[in-house]
Symmetry: D3
Subunit: 104 residues, 6 copies
């Protein structure tokens, strides 16, 4: 089995806070990540796929195809977006990196 990885980046803003907690608790737990008007990052997403080599092509998957799949299924949904407001898949979810991994 061969493992292939493709890494893409996207740029988004977010605010890390839990609406079920008080402002004071949010500030104490999340510190400046809870600043009210948000902040942002360049996020790096690495996707690893596993498979057998296709004997006709010598490829597990064409990396150009893998890039297009990741672009369409994930990057286009979150790039240049506000993760708290603009992404319906993240509705009701604190947009930490860990939760992004669970959703996508």
């Amino acid at each position: 089995m061969i493992y292939l990885s493709k890494t893409l980046t996207f740029s988004a803003s977010h605010r890390i806070y839990n609406p079920n907690l008080s402002d004071e608790d949010n500030q104490r737990i999340f510190k400046n990540c809870a600043n009210p008007h948000g902040h942002g990052h360049n996020f790096t997403l690495e996707v690893v796929v596993r498979g057998k080599i296709n004997p006709d092509t010598g490829y597990v998957i064409d990396l150009k195809d893998l890039k297009q799949i990741i672009q369409k299924e994930i990057i286009d949904l979150v790039d240049h977006k506000n993760l708290n407001i603009d992404v319906k898949e993240l509705n009701g979810i604190i947009p930490t990196s860990e939760n992004l991994l669970m959703v996508f």
Copy 2:
């Protein structure tokens, strides 16, 4: 003369738009950078200083001191902030990287 550089990063959100233009013009000119709820980046700031070597220390400037100066004078003002709302030095200025260089 010796040149020394120190590179720090900060994380902030911004929206690139010009309030003197229509929404349509902003969308045409700035594309997804004008998305209404903003997005964000990790910004990288490299500061280069020039000077003579102090013969008592062998330093132009202690890089730990240079780091503290940049941290206090610039990074603390913009890190984990919304550049359109939270930074009074950027009041009335489109927060592009170019304009950040001019202001700070």
Copy 3:
């Protein structure tokens, strides 16, 4: 004045040899770079532009536009090509990195 840089990469093959010299001289001067069937690299091209900030946009130039210009004027001519055979701008020129800089 503000300096902006954009870095793109391309992948190409080349053989470094001078047809006006003997095979022995080519081997002595260029060593394994003169291997007869060629070899290849990922080349990195950094373009730096200088200009004033447009007060309407806060940009010197939109980096997306700069990327498209470099892509069309240079990268599309050399990417996934054999620099000794496929690029008419390099006809009769030893395809070293230095000569690539002079031609493009």
Copy 4:
């Protein structure tokens, strides 16, 4: 058990095409990777070894020795070569990265 990794690079050219398919199929499947005169890359090879620490040396293996082994057994065979023509281990094999991993 300790894992050690050593990363080396080599520069080579290749053409991705399957001689059992038509030129049209090669162009459709492999796109510009099938360009007739080839192209090239800097390839990065990471080798991971696993072992116990030798109590006399504190080493699993001296990384200088590991580097020499990888250099002699793999890098010298492919560096500054045309992978379709110059490497007898790759005779009859489409020189994709996946197939390079299987052969070496």
Copy 5:
């Protein structure tokens, strides 16, 4: 389960030699790593932790907390130190990277 990693660096000096061996054997086995007055490196330490997401925070662990733990438990003990002399945890141990992993 989610895996999180945090990478920190430290700067230290060491000499790789085994006091149970002769100077000649140390020189033969460890080469210039056994130079008598030592040398040094910037060491890179990556710590990977595994855990479940805390539903109240969206974090496995706050990376700022993880950084502080690594800083206090490991980095403060070895940074800007001579690993052969200054670190009591390494007393009697050849300070190779492998042995550093076993001790900390």
Copy 6:
């Protein structure tokens, strides 16, 4: 004119202190860089050369030759050395990066 750069690294230990000052002053000025048994770094040296292209080779200078010159004239003198003790060119000089630039 073409500018070419070559970057090499070396590993060395040093202690930053001024023997003309008291131990207290050294500790105050240089902090943990003055720790008595030294520490170390991987140093990165970038050499930039400027020249015209030789029309017979397409090179300003063969980078393999430039690498050998830097290796012999600088790297071999400082790599895996204690910069306070082992390098006669640095005799009586505080081995800061700035002073290394002035000496070599």
